[in-house]
Amino acid sequence: MENLAEILSGARQKAEQAEVFSGSSRSTTVQFEANELKQVQTREKTSVSLRIFREGRIGFAAASGGNGCEALVNMAVETSRFGGPANFQFPSSLEYSEVRTYDADVEKIPLERLVETGRQLIGKIKAHTPDILCDVHITRGTSSVSLVNSQSGEESYHKSFFSLELEGILVRGTDILFVGDNQSSCRAADDITDLASKVTWQLEMARKKAAVSTKPLPVVFTPLGVASALLSPLVLAFNGKAVLEGSSPLRDKLGQQIFDRRLSVWDDATIAYGVGSYPFDDEGVPGQRLPLVTDGLVTNFLYDLQTAALAGTHSTGNGQRPGGGFPSPGVSSLILGAGNMPFAAMVKDMKEGLIVEGVMGAEQGNLLAGDFSGNVLLGYKVENGEVMGRVKDTMIAGNVFQVLKELPGIGQEARWVGGILRTPPLYCSAVSVTAKAG
C-alpha cells in the first residue's frame, strides 16, 4: 500500500485525477500427467497499474516487477495525449458490505496432501476404467487486490482459491474419448467424491457409440454443455460495451420478454466463497447481485465506470481487469436459476435427441449475433428416452436467443462450472445437427 501511495502522489503532480490498482497472487499447482505426478509449479505475480485523467483525457500504464514509480507515471502521461475523454469520476467513498472470499485453511494444506488428493482421484477413475490416462491439476493459492485513488478512495481485500481439474483420455484404435470436469471455490474443498462420480458417469454414457440423424433435434445442454456452447454469446450480449455501440442483439430490448418466462439469470459478486466474488470491483465500485434476466425479461446490462458514463448510466460494479490491464465490463459469477424438470425427465422426453456436454470450436461462429456452432466433443445420443451412447463427427449449430426463447424444460439440478457459472441443464427444442455420413 505504501508503494501505491507513492505512485499516486507522483501521478497527482501531473494529472487532475489518478487511480492506482495493484494485484498480487501466489499459487501452487500440483500437476499429474498420464496418471503420474509430473510437475509442481509455484507462481508469484504482482502487477501495478496507473490510470490518470490529464488535460481531460485518460492515460494508462501497467507494470509487473519493479519498474519504478517514475517510469509508470511517464508512460501514463505519454498515452494520455491520445487517450479517450475522461468523462467519469473515480469513486470517492468506498463503502461496501463484507463478502467472504478468504479461507485461511487453504494456505495451510500441505503439498503432500495435494499430491495424495490427486492420487486418490485418479485411483477412483482408474477403478472404473483401468486403461484411462488422467491429467489432474490441483491448485491452491491466495491473492490480494489494493486500490487507491485521488478522490480519497483506498481499500483492499484478500482472496483464497482452491481448484480440482481432471481430464481423462481414452484411446482405442484411432478412437479418442475425452472426459473431464472441474470444481473450484475460495474454500479448501478437496472432497473428490463428487468430481469422480461426474467423470465416471461420463464414461458410462460414452461406453457405446451411436449415430444421430442430420436434422434439427431436441438437445439437452448439461451444465458443462451450457458453459461450452451457450455462455459466451449470452454474456457478450449483456456487455455494456456491446450494448453501447449497438452490436448487442439486446441493445434495445431492456424490459422486453426475450427469453423463456421461466428463465432468470443474474450476476452475483456477493456469493460467499465464490471464486468470482468481490466486495468491490477493480475500479472500487461495490459488487452486487445484478438481475440480467427476470422471468424472461431483460433487466440489466453489465457496466464499468467508463462505459456507464458513455451510456449515461451507472457502473454496475462489473469493472474487471484480467491480468491487471485496462478495465472492461465482465461477469463476476453468472447464475442461471434452476427450474423444475429433473434431468432424467428431459432424457425420457426425447424420441431422438442429443445430450451435449462439450462443444469444440463453439466460440468461432458469429458470437455477436448470438450464434454458436461446433463439433460435439462429448455428447450422447438419446433414442426413445434412453441414452444410446456417444456421438462422433457431429456438429451442432444454433442461435442462443432462438433456443432460449422457449424451453421445453429448465433443469432442477443446478451446479457450479469452473467456479464462475452456476446453471441447471437446459432442454432446448430444435438445434441443427449435422452428422458425417457413414
Binding site: 500440483v30 498420464a34 503420474e36 505426478l37 509430473k38 510437475q39 509442481v40 509449479q41 509455484t42 508469484e44 504482482t46 502487477s47 494508462f60 500504464a61 501497467a62 507494470a63 509487473s64 516487477g65 519493479g66 519498474n67 501514463a76 498515452t79 495525449r81 491520445f82 487517450g83 479517450g84 503439498l111 503432500e112 484411446v171 484411432t174 478412437d175 475425452f178 442430420t214 460495451k241 455501440e245 449497438g246 452490436s247 442483439p249 490491464g325 485496462f326 469444440m360 470450436g361 466460440e363 468461432q364 461462429g365 458469429n366 455477436l368 449475433a369 456452432s373 461446433g374 463439433n375 466433443l377 463427427d393 456438429m395 449449430a397 444454433g398 442461435n399 441443427s432 449435422t434 458425417k436
Partner: protein, 469 residues
C-alpha cells in the same frame, strides 16, 4: 519491508556471477538439471471500438523463473521479485522431489553462449505512439466509410522481450524478441442481422508489415456488408477448396498439434497411431515445422531450453517422418530434441510448441482444382480453429459456393470439422502457391498467445463436413 525489485540493470550486474551461482545452487542438492530465465519486456496496446479509441496503454514487465528436474519430475517457480534467488531454487527442488520417479536424463544438446537480436528495418517498438495511432485512425475511417458498417474493432499490440537463459550445463543465452499483431474487424448491421469480417496481420516486430493495408481494410468492410444478404450454407459433406491462409490453419490445428510429442509420449495407444513411417496422406503431401525460416513470427535461433532448432519434416511424401520435441519428450521417445520447447513468458515453463508450420507447394493450379467440382465450397481466411487430437474444427472468414467449376455466391461464415486421419487422406490436390499467414496466435496449456505462423498453398479436400443451419 525493503524490497529490491529486479530490473534489467541488476540482471546485467548479475551476469558475471550467474553461472557460478547456478553451479553453486546445484551442489549437493541431488538435482539433475536446473535452468533460470530472466526477462524484461515492454508492450504497447491500442484498441478501437467503432470511432472510439477504447484503450491506449503501455506496459512494462520484469520477472523470471527457476525450473529444476529431479529423477524425472519437475519443480517450477516463477516470480516478479528477484529477491532470494537461492530460496526460489530451494523451493523448485523441494517441489521436484515430491514425486521421486525413475532416474532420468534430458536429451543432450550442445551448451551455448550466445547473444541474439532481431534485424528489423523499422522496429515497432521504436515507432512513435502518434504514428501508430495515425495509421490505425486511418484504417478505422476506411472501414467506417463503407455503407452498413455499424462498428469496427481494432486491436493492435507490439512487444519486445529481452530474455536471459542460463542452465546448469553451462549455456548462457541472451535473446531480444519482438512481435507485432494487429486485427481489424468490421461489423455490419441491418435490422436484426449482424455480420462481421476480419483481417489478422502480424510480424516479427517489423512495423512496415502493418502499413499500407487501406485496400484490404476497405475490402473486408465491404465483405462484412455483403454477408448481411448472403445465405447460410446447407450443412452437408462437400468437396472443399481451402485458400492458403485457412489451409495453413488446417496444417497447424489438424495435424501440427498431433505432432507435439507431449500429447503422445505417455500414451501407448497414441504412440501406435503416430508411428514414424506410417502413411497419413498422398505422395504429394509434405508438412514442415521450421523455426529457422528467417523473419517470420514463429522464427527463433534458440528455444526456451537453449536448443538450436534445425526445422523438420512432420510428413514427407505422405509418410510420418518427424515430430516436435522438448529435451524431455525427446528422451522419453528415444528421438532427438528439435528445439520446440517454448513459453509465452517467464510466468510459464517451456512446453512443446509449433513455430512456422506449413504445407509445401505442389503443382496444381487453383483453376484445375476448381474445374471438376460440380458443387462444392470455397473457404477462405482464418477465423479460428481448435482441435482435440483426433477431431478438429476450424472456421472460415469467408466462404463461397463452387458451382460447375466456378466460384459462385457468397455464403455466411462456415465451420468445417472432421477427423484428421481421414481428412489428410482426403486431400486430393495441392496448389502451387504457398503463402504464409502471420496473423495467428497459438494457445496451449493456458499459454496464449504464442507467436507462430502457418501457411500452405490452396488445397482440395474431398468429403469434408461443412456446418450450417
Amino acid at each position: 519491508m525493503v524490497t529490491t525489485f529486479f530490473t534489467f540493470a541488476t540482471v546485467k550486474a548479475y551476469n558475471e556471477g550467474m553461472r557460478d551461482a547456478i553451479a553453486d545452487a546445484l551442489k549437493g542438492r541431488g538435482a539433475d538439471y536446473i535452468e533460470v530465465h530472466f526477462e524484461e519486456g515492454e508492450a504497447t496496446n491500442i484498441a478501437y471500438r467503432g470511432k472510439r479509441l477504447e484503450e491506449i496503454s503501455r506496459g512494462r514487465s520484469s520477472g523470471g523463473n527457476v525450473r529444476a528436474l529431479v529423477r524425472g519430475s519437475w519443480g517450477f517457480v516463477s516470480f516478479n521479485n528477484l529477491d532470494g534467488l537461492r530460496g526460489k531454487v530451494d523451493l523448485a527442488l523441494q517441489e521436484a522431489k515430491l514425486a521421486g520417479r525413475e532416474p532420468f536424463k534430458l536429451s543432450p544438446v550442445k551448451s551455448v553462449v550466445d547473444t541474439v537480436a532481431p534485424q528489423l528495418e523499422k522496429s515497432a517498438t521504436t515507432v512513435p505512439l502518434a504514428t501508430k495511432k495515425e495509421l490505425l485512425d486511418r484504417y478505422d475511417d476506411v472501414m467506417l466509410s463503407i455503407p452498413r458498417i455499424q462498428s469496427t474493432r481494432i486491436n493492435y499490440r507490439d512487444s519486445m522481450r529481452r530474455t536471459i537463459f542460463a542452465n546448469s550445463e553451462g549455456s548462457y543465452i541472451e535473446q531480444t524478441r519482438t512481435d507485432l499483431a494487429m486485427r481489424l474487424t468490421a461489423v455490419a448491421r441491418e435490422g436484426n442481422e449482424v455480420q462481421q469480417a476480419s483481417l489478422s496481420m502480424g510480424s516479427n516486430g517489423e512495423f512496415s508489415a502493418v502499413e499500407g493495408l487501406d485496400g484490404q481494410a476497405r475490402e473486408l468492410a465491404e465483405r462484412a456488408a455483403a454477408l448481411l444478404s448472403a445465405p447460410q450454407v446447407k450443412g452437408a459433406e462437400y468437396t472443399v477448396i481451402l485458400d492458403p491462409v485457412l489451409a495453413g490453419v488446417f496444417a497447424h490445428e489438424a495435424f501440427g498439434h498431433l505432432s507435439e510429442s507431449d500429447f503422445v509420449y505417455q500414451n501407448e495407444n497414441l504412440k501406435q497411431i503416430m508411428v514414424l513411417g506410417k502413411r497419413f496422406g498422398g505422395k504429394h503431401l509434405d508438412i514442415v515445422d521450421d523455426p529457422t525460416v528467417p523473419n517470420l513470427r514463429g522464427s527463433y535461433k534458440y528455444d526456451d531450453e537453449g536448443t538450436a532448432p534445425e526445422g523438420i519434416y512432420l510428413i514427407r511424401e505422405g509418410i510420418l517422418e518427424g515430430r516436435l520435441h522438448s529435451r524431455e519428450t525427446a528422451t522419453r521417445m528415444g528421438e532427438k530434441a528439435t528445439g520446440n520447447a517454448r513459453a509465452i513468458n517467464y510466468a510459464f515453463p517451456p512446453i512443446v510448441r509449433m513455430s512456422n508450420t506449413f504445407i509445401e507447394s505442389g503443382n496444381t493450379s487453383l483453376e484445375d482444382m476448381l474445374a471438376d467440382i460440380e458443387e462444392g465450397v470455397y473457404v477462405k481466411d482464418w477465423y479460428g480453429g481448435t482441435t482435440s487430437l483426433e477431431m478438429f474444427t476450424f472456421s472460415a472468414g469467408e466462404a463461397r459456393m463452387i458451382r460447375n467449376g466456378r466460384l459462385a455466391e457468397l455464403l455466411r461464415p462456415v465451420v468445417l470439422t472432421g477427423n484428421v486421419f481421414t481428412t489428410l487422406q482426403n486431400i486430393d490436390a495441392i496448389g502451387n502457391d504457398l503463402d504464409m499467414n502471420q496473423g495467428g496466435g497459438c494457445g496451449k496449456g493456458g499459454q496464449y498467445p504464442l507467436p507462430v505462423s502457418d501457411g500452405s498453398p490452396h488445397i482440395r479436400i474431398r468429403h469434408c463436413v461443412v456446418g450450417g443451419r
